[in-house]
């Protein structure tokens, strides 16, 4: 039917004309295939290619990049560093975000909208900029060191940057908005009436927290932890800048192989391994979530 076949004809267009549908889908799908699907396939292929400078040859299949990684203790250390960084960042970001999310869910303040925006808006400021902010705060002549010195609390400079401590702190802050956002969506089931009911049944505030609030917010917390973890283990700008070249994680190594050493198959192999790490953690998370729900 003429009208029902066209995009604007409304929900009745169940038997849509193929042509129009194709027209609608094509541009977006082509873009996504080129910028998402194809890159992943290419990545996989390249990880099995032999290394040549700034390119990879299509002909052969070899596992040399993988063996190079797996038999080099350096990469084991890098993987370990990455996991430690991910765990530290995830744990602290979640601990620090939890009160904010709880506050935003429960507050009746008329500034709630503004406060929510303030908590998640940093997401929309460049991570380079915020990393720079942390360089200013933690730097040798930065906010913390100069404050401590002017109070004569320390003699010398305390090294807070160019090490993994700085990278961890900056990443915690940079990823907190994600945690808050995840928790806000996950806290839907929290409901002040439940707390009141529990309180009336004689639970004190500690009990209300441990027996009601914590279990109900657990899925949101778990999601937040996962999100922060995966973002942390795949980050490189912040570890690179805050680490001053002295922090080696998977992200920085991938970048290094891709743009400095120009060993693309190795960069691809590292990326594939990162992706595998990433996927296994998501699978674990889904298990955990299911366990929480039953």
């Amino acid at each position: 039917m003429s009208a029902a076949a066209l995009p604007a004809a409304g929900a009745s267009s169940a038997n849509a004309s193929r042509g129009v549908l194709l027209m609608l889908l094509l541009p977006g799908l082509v873009a996504l295939v080129i910028t998402f699907l194809l890159p992943l396939i290419w990545l996989f292929r390249a990880s099995f290619a032999s290394s040549t400078m700034g390119a990879f040859s299509g002909g052969d299949w070899t596992v040399q990049s993988y063996s190079a990684v797996l038999f080099d203790p350096f990469y084991w250390r890098v993987a370990w560093n990455t996991l430690v960084l991910g765990f530290n960042v995830a744990i602290f970001a979640v601990i620090l975000s939890y009160p904010i999310a709880l506050f935003l869910v429960r507050t009746e303040s008329r500034f709630r909208g503004v406060l929510t925006a303030l908590a998640v808006a940093p997401l929309l400021t460049s991570s380079v900029v915020r990393t720079y902010g942390w360089m200013v705060i933690l730097g040798d002549r930065g906010v913390i060191n100069s404050t401590l010195q002017s109070l004569s609390l320390t003699g010398g400079v305390i090294r807070l940057t160019n090490n993994s401590f700085g990278a961890t702190v900056a990443l915690i802050e940079i990823l907190m908005p994600y945690a808050i956002l995840a928790m806000l969506s996950g806290f839907g089931r929290l409901n002040p009436q439940l707390e009141e009911a529990a309180a009336m049944l004689g639970a004190n505030r500690v009990k209300v927290f441990t027996r009601i609030i914590l279990p109900l917010s657990a899925p949101g917390v778990l999601t937040a932890a996962l999100l922060v973890f995966v973002l942390a283990i795949s980050s490189f700008v912040t570890p690179r800048l805050m680490g001053g070249g002295r922090v080696f994680v998977l992200g920085t190594e991938v970048f290094n192989e891709a743009t400095v050493t120009l060993n693309w198959p190795l960069a691809a192999a590292l990326s594939v391994m990162l992706l595998i790490l990433f996927s296994s953690i998501i699978l674990l998370y889904q298990r955990a979530l299911r366990a929480l729900e039953t």
């Binding site: 080129i34 699907l37 406060l115 929309l124 400021t125 800048l241 970048f255």
Partner: protein, 264 residues
């Protein structure tokens, strides 16, 4: 916890305030330091001046990167919104086989680490000679921005009452007219929100950009990154403040149009 409710409340509010301070610390500090003019990073600022801002505006590298980022962001925003609009229409208004797969493909870039995507995109566009070029960086940013435009536009589109479109049809509007006069104006908030978010993501994106561009098509974040590898002087702070202000403008726009929480 159960001793004194007032004390508890004060403690709780103080905790929240401190956490907010932590969250906003880098932005606040950057703002303060941007009025310093020394050649090196130090705190507190010893002067209050706009010297660093002046320097930024005299820095040819930054200014040209700024314009490039602006142009790239605008193109990415426009293309992502156009593709997103079409995809959203097909997802919201049509039933077809493979719909779930299309929906997954659109959301999947959310699930893949940017650095992994970055290597993949680099590998794909390098043989095409698109490394360090406008088309290359625009393509690279499309994959990560289309999910956002699809999300905001789909939300707006689902809120459009199809009866309204039918009413227009019955009263004489051709399907094309219905699209331009009814559907498009009604989803405009979603379009604009999606567009500015896509713009901002592209404008602020560093990870993927660093793999794709080096000199000719370098964006502002990549320029800042490379600058920061050697120097951390207050010029960067001034530049950061400008970037932050752009973000704030975008945030307020999105908040007003469809609500920030729904868009992210």
């Amino acid at each position: 916890m159960q001793s004194n409710p007032l004390l508890g409340r004060i403690a709780w509010n103080t905790l929240i305030a401190l956490l907010y301070l932590f969250l906003l610390a880098p932005i606040i500090v950057v703002f303060i330091i941007s009025f310093d003019t020394r050649q090196y990073l130090a705190f507190p600022p010893e002067s209050f001046s706009f010297g660093s801002y002046v320097k930024v505006f005299q820095n040819v590298k930054f200014i040209s990167a700024f314009w490039r980022s602006l142009v790239i962001g605008a193109i990415v925003g426009f293309v992502a919104v156009s593709a997103g609009m079409l995809l959203s229409l097909s997802l919201v208004r049509y039933q077809f086989r493979g719909k779930a797969a299309v929906g997954f493909l659109i959301l999947a870039p959310f699930l893949v680490p940017h650095i992994v995507l970055a290597v993949g995109i680099m590998l794909v566009i390098a043989p095409l000679g698109l490394l360090d070029s406008y088309p290359g960086i625009v393509l690279a940013h499309l994959g990560i921005t289309i999910p956002y435009t699809v999300r905001t536009i789909t939300m707006s589109l689902m809120a459009v009452d199809t009866r309204v479109e039918e009413a227009a049809l019955v009263h004489g509007a051709s399907p094309r007219m219905v699209f331009w006069r009814i559907t498009l104006p009604l989803v405009r908030p979603g379009l604009i929100a999606g567009g500015v978010i896509a713009f901002l993501i592209s404008f602020d994106e560093a990870t993927i950009s660093l793999f794709i561009v080096s000199v000719k098509a370098s964006t502002l974040p990549t320029e800042i990154y490379h600058y920061l590898e050697y120097s951390t002087d207050p010029q960067i702070a001034a530049l950061s403040v400008i970037l932050i202000l752009i973000s704030v403008a975008v945030v307020m726009m999105v908040e007003k149009l469809i609500g920030l929480r729904k868009a992210l």
